[in-house]
Amino acid sequence: MSATAAAAHPAWLRRASTFLYCRPTFYVLLLLIPPLLWLGTVYIGSLFALLANSFYAIDEFTARIVYEPTLATFRQVITQPAHLDIIQRTLLMAVAVTIACAGIALPIAIYMARYASSRMKALFYVGITLPMWMSYLVKVYAWRLILAKQGILSWLLESIGFDRVLDAVLQLPGVGGPSLASSYLGMFVVFVYMWLPYMILPLAAALERVPESLLQASADLGARPRQTFWHVTLPLAVPGLAAGSIFTFSLTLGDYIIPSVVGAPGYFIGMMVYQQQGTAGNLPLAAAFSVVPIVLIMIYLSLAKRAGAFDAL
């Protein structure tokens, strides 16, 4: 092979290779220029354009953007009660979804990391990654079918005689609605379903790194399984939980498809951004609103970093 390779190998290529090999810094720079140019101009440039726009305001009479730096748009975001309501609702949903995902993911991750045979582990791994990569919109649509008034869930509840319970839950103020497909409860279920794999995978990875001997030591010292869980397993799972929660928190904060396809009439941050730039035509307000999730996520990231999330990613 080397003979043919050398024959088809022009001298200039060899000289160029040697030139680059002797200048590793230049070589790395050369490799990085195209991707950095792309991300730097297209992405970072866009983020700056967004930030700049949030400091403009819209003229109330002409509905045109006034290109003069002002804080008026930001003031509008954080002082109007309707806007604060939206922020609070979105934040509450993100926190609730994160907690629920953690609760559901824990037993699955513990089973994967501790008890599953290698074959079963592979099955779980595929069984969780495949739905995670499945088409996002199709999944949301499927949930609309499941949660619909005459859909599978109400059929199932009716056939086991639980339809009264469902009706009672839907009567509750704050979570209920005319049907599951148009209630905060239904939206919550869909959010939990969508982001659950993002919680399971880092959590299982973090639990797999917990040495078996620690659990054995805990048992040897007389701890019951429950005590071992609360005092050994759970504290050691915190980095994994923090890593997973970054995804569940951030994805919920920014989503606008799920609240508009499945859910109650109340607005969420993402919907507000989408509507303001579209039908309302108020790009500065949309820009200022989109800064809210960025700030919230930055705060959350710094908290998660303290919990060791970045070592578990």
């Binding site: 680059l20 008890y115 919109l137 079918l145 619909a148």
Partner: protein, 283 residues
């Protein structure tokens, strides 16, 4: 966000046998784990079932009857085909761009150490870490700012931005596992940098590159959050689908398209999985 697994091995490269294999999980853990796994797959079954229902008005379950009729109706619709073609073209081009940019970054980042490395990793992850809506509205402001007409090229640009990191993650994980001694051996035997890349590094990273490309393709084909901002008047398949959700005129056709989208994204994902798994087993 990647398929490359870190296989759990002990110091000698032997897979660790779970010493606790004999310990039985409590009933609660077992039930919760398998119920969770079943929960993950419920929507898949629902989508497949509803594509065959004879009911065209409600979401009634159980379906009153099964039929293949809606597949005929959907395949005869030219607007669906147009949206499908656009989505495939966008995904193909975005995949190509992200393969080039992602593998360049991975080659630069895998071995060398330099100060800006952490900031570059941060920059790569940012499009995925920030919510899609931020990326979407940011690109839209830039498009308006530069007075570009949004359309095919702006969709591709948006998709490429967040697909780069998918390719990068897959390739860099593989390159880190490539023993440095192989490269040294190649150079010692007289190969230059290009030959070492062509005959040692490239064959090693090829499947990871392909797997990353497949995932990028699947991600781009089905992206909606950023696309709605950057598409202008173009309609990709997800945008068609999204509009259809609020105009439930052709509900059965929507069901059929859902199955088609699911299959089109499943194929590259399964291929990506089998590509990385066979490489895992070889190592």
């Amino acid at each position: 966000m990647r398929f490359e697994r870190r296989p759990s091995t002990d110091g000698n490269g032997q897979p660790v046998r779970s010493s606790n294999a004999a310990a039985r999980p409590s009933l609660f853990i077992r039930v919760a784990a398998f119920a969770g796994l079943a929960f993950m797959h419920l929507p898949v079954l629902v989508i497949v079932l509803y594509a065959f229902t004879t009911d065209d008005r409600t979401y009634a379950f159980p379906p009153p009857g099964l039929t293949l009729h809606w597949f005929d109706v959907a395949f005869a619709r030219s607007d669906i085909w147009a949206a499908m073609r656009l989505s495939l073209r966008v995904a193909a081009l975005a995949t190509l761009c992200s393969i080039i940019l992602g593998s360049l970054t991975a080659l630069a980042m895998s071995r060398s150490r330099f100060r800006a490395k952490e900031s570059i990793t941060f920059l790569l992850i940012l499009p995925l870490a920030l919510p899609g809506i931020v990326t979407g509205i940011a690109l839209l402001t830039a498009i308006k700012f530069a007075s570009i007409d949004p359309g095919f090229w702006t969709i591709v640009a948006g998709h490429t931005t967040f697909c780069i990191v998918i390719v990068y993650n897959n390739v860099v994980a593989r390159l880190r596992r490539l023993p440095p001694s192989w490269i040294e051996a190649s150079m010692d035997l007289g190969a230059d940098g290009w030959q070492t890349f062509r005959y040692i590094v490239l064959p090693q990273m090829a499947t990871a590159l392909l797997a990353g490309g497949m995932l990028a393709f699947a991600l781009s084909f089905d992206e909606i959050i950023v696309t709605l901002f950057t598409a202008g008047h173009e309609r990709t398949l997800p945008i068609w689908f999204f509009n259809e959700l609020f105009r439930p005129r052709d509900r059965p056709v929507t069901n059929v398209v859902a199955v088609v989208v699911m299959v089109v994204t499943f194929i590259p994902i399964l291929l990506a999985y089998s590509l990385t798994r066979s490489a895992d087993e070889r190592n």
